[in-house]
């Protein structure tokens, strides 16, 4: 594996873990499952996703 591949692997992993790719996934999902319906903008989607956590809290262990 070259250094370049390793770096792109790290970047891919960090973006996935941090949830930065959630929007891309959402757009893909929305286009595939609900074609023709409007798709949220990134700003709206991220807001909606954050506010969803207000309603569904996640426990953190000790």
């Amino acid at each position: 594996m070259t250094l370049r591949e390793a770096m792109s692997g790290v970047r891919w992993y960090l973006r996935e873990v941090a949830g930065e790719t959630a929007y891309d996934r959402y757009v893909e999902h929305a286009r595939r499952e609900h074609p023709g319906e409007p798709v949220m903008s990134r700003r709206d989607f991220e807001r909606w996703r954050q506010d969803d956590r207000n309603a569904n809290p996640r426990a953190r262990c000790c």
């Binding site: 992993y13 949830g19 930065e20 959630a22 999902h29 996703r49 207000n54 309603a55 426990a59 262990c61």
Partner: protein, 725 residues
């Protein structure tokens, strides 16, 4: 094929030999100090063998995972909570959710028994109990569309078991939050450097929240990088604040810090998630992973030598100053996270089962993540054991025993049978720029001293004070994140329960309900926190065993649910896989509760302690370490409350197990397996590797499934593709 088989046998033989030699050195060498490397080797070799053989056996024979069966993530994929997620990414999420301050604090306290008992329990416990629990609960929840532990207890055992499980979850939450907050108080009290740095995390988090909400929505990595930079600056700035006129403003008494935390907990629970909780969570997650990796590198680079004894006299006498009681059962109570932690079953039946791609991946995610946490616990016990024992006891013995000067502390430590001069104590504090290290209980400061020694050894001696406060900061940071998140979860449970009585409560956004339930939850843990801070006998000494008992009680509930499910499915012959850890856990927890309730040794039994102080109080006497009649009254009240809680926990365990035993008998008597509560199987169209690295076979399947055209991920082999659509 023949060759790779021979190679595999050769590799595992070598691993087994390395493990056996390392264990022999760790367990048998006496009177000579050993290198921490042996503990690392023993741990890693044991984990490798357990993961390869035992976890695989459970997955294949006991659970009978079936990769032809679609997981809830595949079937119910809604792009939000149900969503097939790469196993390595999900491992990261799951690990970040299960690991926190627990595996760092418990082993530090348990080091009072020596490093050997704790290390054996951390490694053997995780292999046969902790990791099994996490994986099995993850599997059962996954087969039921991600049902929570509480729901499974209700469905599989019955309403009584269900209510008992709910009570267990709520009470552990309260005690956990109180004890963790107490750890923060002890780490920050009278320390302007630490207090300033931690206080700065609030504006930093608010800024990150605003940035992420308004300026750059969704750019988490960039925001976190800014946050971490600001955080490091805050730690450096803390050193200057300590030497400036601002120092007094940040020098707070334990009581003051406790009230700040209580107020903070309430505000954080009421504010929307995006302002404080979400950015804090990113910050603490990345710090956590970073520091754990750093610690591993530090230990491997410096290979420190253990100063602690393998087994101390306190293991058998039960008269240790950090916490009372003998090795059995108290080592197994004190070290919960890292060996067996009931709390994990809440995570394993929360978001993780809804995101798993393939059934066989429960092994890497459930079992693997817990092995990693166990390794963190091993590093913590190393960090606590490379410190001079004299310093360890001067830091971890309650203030009431040590007195308030280095002279009195030195004397008290000599009385325990360890040596440290007043001069050495002052020097140790000066080396990390702290006023004093005497009676800095709770584990965090001790771990920070150990870590600062390791990190300073790997970098420069002059950076010791920076590394100490770095370590304090990172522990306090993720404890506060747990406090935020835990208060919120507790509040939700309360809103949900009260909603059954008065409908509007169930509406999460109903303001009066929100405020009231937040106040109740914060009030509950705040009560125990304040009682712990002001307890003359030492809050950690009194409360930590309760926290351990509560956590192991929850583990008993989880293991009971798992055993019940195995028996109901007609797998009685495999029920020992969760049944033996359950029997052990019940024995440990019930013995500990019994001793805490009925022991007539006042330091050990809460009620014996209560009687002793009540009697003196009636005669108008003041018993050390209490200094006034008010102190005496506080001891009496605390002992009573704590004793009642210990008794309540024991009763809960007995109720859950007895209620489950009824179901077991019914299931065993039935000719056929009882009707299953699993979601009916559907065929899977997803292709994904089950382990960390895809096998040759899996590689071929991946190539065939998607022809190299991935929608996401770096390449075809890294992201599964839907073939059926």
């Amino acid at each position: 094929m023949q060759r790779s088989r021979a190679r595999s046998i050769a590799i595992w033989t070598v691993v087994a030999i390395v493990g056996a030699v390392a264990w022999a050195v760790v367990a048998l060498v006496r009177g000579e100090q050993i290198s921490a490397a042996w503990l690392i080797f023993a741990a890693l070799a044991s984990y490798a063998i357990a993961y390869r053989f035992y976890a695989r056996f459970i997955v294949r024979r006991v659970l009978e995972v079936d990769d032809k069966r679609a997981t809830p993530a595949e079937r119910l994929d809604n792009g939000i909570d149900y969503q097939p997620t790469d196993r390595r990414v999900l491992f990261g999420h799951h690990f970040a959710a299960i690991a926190g301050a627990g595996p760092l604090v418990g082993p530090v306290l348990a080091a009072q028994m020596g490093y050997l008992p704790g290390t054996i329990w951390i490694i053997v416990g995780v292999i046969f109990a902790g990791a099994v629990q996490d994986m099995v609960i993850l599997f059962f929840s996954m087969r039921r569309d991600g049902k929570s532990l509480g729901q499974m207890a209700r469905d599989e055992i019955g309403p009584v078991g269900g209510v008992a499980a709910l009570l267990a979850v709520f009470s552990i939450m309260i005690i956990l939050l109180a004890v963790l907050a107490l750890v923060v108080v002890n780490a920050l009290a009278e320390s302007p450097w630490g207090t300033f740095s931690l206080a700065m995390t609030i504006p930093i988090a608010l800024f990150m929240g605003f940035y992420l909400r308004v300026i750059r929505p969704g750019r988490v990595l960039e925001t976190t990088a800014i946050g971490v930079t600001l955080l490091l600056l805050a730690i450096i700035a803390g050193g200057f604040v300590q030497d400036s006129g601002l120092a007094d403003a940040f020098t707070l008494s334990p009581e003051a810090i406790a009230f700040c935390l209580i107020a903070y907990g309430f505000v954080a629970s009421v504010l929307p998630v995006w302002m404080l909780l979400a950015p804090r969570d990113y910050l603490s997650t990345f710090m956590k992973i970073g520091v754990i990796a750093l610690l591993a590198v530090g230990i491997i680079v410096t290979l420190p030598v253990m100063q602690n004894e393998a087994v101390t006299k306190f293991a058998s006498s039960g008269e240790g100053p950090v916490f009372a009681g003998a090795l059995f059962p108290f080592v197994f109570i004190t070290i919960a996270c890292g060996a067996l932690s009931g709390f994990h079953s809440l995570i394993a039946s929360g978001t993780t089962p809804k995101m798993i791609e393939k059934e066989s991946q429960v092994r890497i995610i459930g079992y693997g993540a817990m092995l990693t946490e166990s390794f963190v616990a091993v590093m913590a016990i190393i960090a606590a054991s490379i410190i001079e024992p004299g310093l360890y006891y001067a830091m971890n013995t309650p203030a009431g025993v040590l007195g308030d000067s280095v002279q009195s502390a030195s004397q008290a430590v000599n009385g325990l049978g360890f040596q440290i001069t007043p001069g050495e104590l002052s020097a140790a504090a000066a080396a990390v720029d702290e006023e004093t290290l005497v009676a800095r209980t709770g584990g965090a400061p001790t771990l920070a001293i150990g870590m600062s020694e390791i990190f300073a050894g790997a970098t420069a001696e002059s950076l010791k004070a920076f590394w100490y406060h770095f370590a304090i900061m990172f522990e306090a940071l993720f404890i506060l994140t747990t406090v935020d998140a835990g208060t919120r979860v507790g509040r939700f449970m309360l809103q949900d329960t009260l909603g059954n009585v008065y409908k509007p409560f169930a509406r999460v956004s109903w303001k009066p309900g929100l405020w009231l339930t937040s106040a109740l939850v914060v009030g509950a843990w705040g009560y125990f926190l304040y009682a712990g801070v002001t307890n003359p006998l030492g809050g950690i000494n009194q409360l930590f065993p309760l926290f351990g008992i509560a956590n192991q009680l929850l583990a008993a509930v989880a293991l009971t649910v798992a055993t019940t499910l195995l028996i109901k499915a007609g797998k009685l012959k495999w029920a020992w896989v969760t049944g033996i850890p359950l029997a052990w856990d019940a024995a440990v927890t019930l013995t500990a509760s019994y001793q805490k309730v009925f022991s007539d040794v006042p330091t050990l039994g809460f009620f014996a302690q209560r009687d002793r102080f009540q009697e003196a109080l009636d005669n108008g006497e003041v018993l050390a370490p209490a200094q006034s009649l008010d102190d005496m009254q506080a001891v009496v009240t605390n002992s009573t409350v704590d004793g009642i809680l210990a008794a309540l926990f024991a009763v809960l365990i007995i109720v859950v197990i007895a209620d489950a035993a009824r179901v077991w008998v019914k299931a065993i008597r039935a000719r056929e397996p009882l009707p299953t509560t699993e979601t009916p199987p559907e065929e899977s169209h997803l292709v994904a590797p089950s382990g960390l690295f895809p096998t040759a076979e899996e590689r071929a399947m991946l190539a065939g499934a998607n022809g190299g055209a991935a929608r996401f991920g770096r390449d075809g082999a890294r992201q599964p593709e839907r073939t059926g659509r």
